[in-house]
């Protein structure tokens, strides 16, 4: 008879950051939130986007988030009748944590940008890394197609808005693997190479893509002491 939670392992610390760790500090927790940042997702989609997470842990995280008021379980109207998980407004506000954490960690000398990446991740990184000054004079819609998932980004007025939707609505459309997109934007791998490798294809003017790509640069690496 395992008592449900004899020792919930809290930090017993009034510091807000400590409480934050109790809310989203468990393994995989922030990454589950990340995958929900661009709108509701289904259980199996989350599993697919988080290679390595076990169904067990995903169930547990989703349940904890619901109990804590970070997400709600919703059932779509028939005939879909599919259950999805959707962040609450407060849940969406956690994006800033992802952004600051990601921006800081991008300076790590150990960061390996060639690992696999999810579509949501790379798009969130655009919101994180965009050069708002450069984006001030731009008005561009970019469509993205990652398998079944489609998104549209709108760069205007020094900001970028991203939402799920018909990728065809973009001035340019990028289709393929999120890792290929990362290589194109952050790794400066030529589009032709990526197309040849079957990783990414561009529809639309190259100049528009080049301008879009210029918006995003990685921060300088921190140097190791000693």
């Amino acid at each position: 008879m395992t008592s449900p939670r004899s020792t919930p392992k809290r930090y017993d610390d009034a510091c807000g950051a400590a409480h934050g760790l109790e809310l989203v500090g468990d393994r995989w927790a922030l990454l589950v939130l990340r995958e929900l940042m661009l709108g509701p997702r289904r259980f199996s989609q989350l599993r697919a986007d988080l290679p390595g997470i076990s169904a067990n842990v995903l169930t547990q995280r989703l349940g904890e988030f619901e109990a804590r008021g970070l997400l709600v379980k919703r059932k779509l109207a028939p005939p879909a009748s599919v259950q999805v998980y959707e962040l609450t407004p407060w849940g969406y506000e956690a994006e800033e944590i992802l952004q600051v954490l990601g921006r800081w960690a991008a300076r790590s000398p150990m960061h390996d940008a060639t690992l696999p990446i999810s579509g949501v991740s790379i798009l969130i990184s655009f919101r994180t890394m965009i050069d708002r000054t450069l984006a001030r004079d731009m008005d561009l819609r970019v469509g993205f197609r990652f398998g079944e998932d489609e998104y549209v980004a709108h760069v205007a007025d020094g900001a970028i808005e991203i939402a799920r939707g018909d990728a065809g609505g973009g001035d340019i459309v990028l289709a393929g693997d999120p890792a290929g997109l990362a290589a194109a934007i952050y790794g400066d791998v030529p589009l032709d190479d990526l197309a040849a490798a079957g990783l990414l294809t561009l529809s639309g003017p190259r100049e528009a893509f080049a301008a879009f790509s210029e918006l995003f640069t990685l921060p300088p690496k921190a140097s190791m002491p000693g």
Copy 2:
């Protein structure tokens, strides 16, 4: 002999946030960083400021941070000859993570602000929560005494600087328990009550303290769905 222990549990995810979790996502890790944010500390000080952490885990976190370039072990010159742990510049940059996480978590309906808190925590929270508009027209030095540790904060030009140093250099001085200070600033507990309870004493004009206290307010709580 400590085995290298190059984190066997990675996320295999190129996302910066995922890498950030590999760097500072382990249990207690961010809280150890927090305690180092206002300058070097010794092993036993860290243990005292993080009630609940075991010496074993603290040793491990410090070793990992050193290997990752977030801190350096330094030995003070004789006759002190004491070993201290000091963040690198990149390590200090992690403060923004603590701030964003803390600010977000302060909106949690489950946040219990009456738990114990360390001196560094409450001072960092001032950097996090300060109303920069109100601070624009202020020029005030506040000294803090928590047991052996002394700090001075300088509010000016819409910002607050905090450093270890002689608390007596402040226009006002607050001495006592960090939790008492939190109650005074965030809980609006009257100073007289706190003084009567032996938790906090103020030296200097009350009006200055009142003005200082006005700078800090907690964000509104997020509402629970359903």
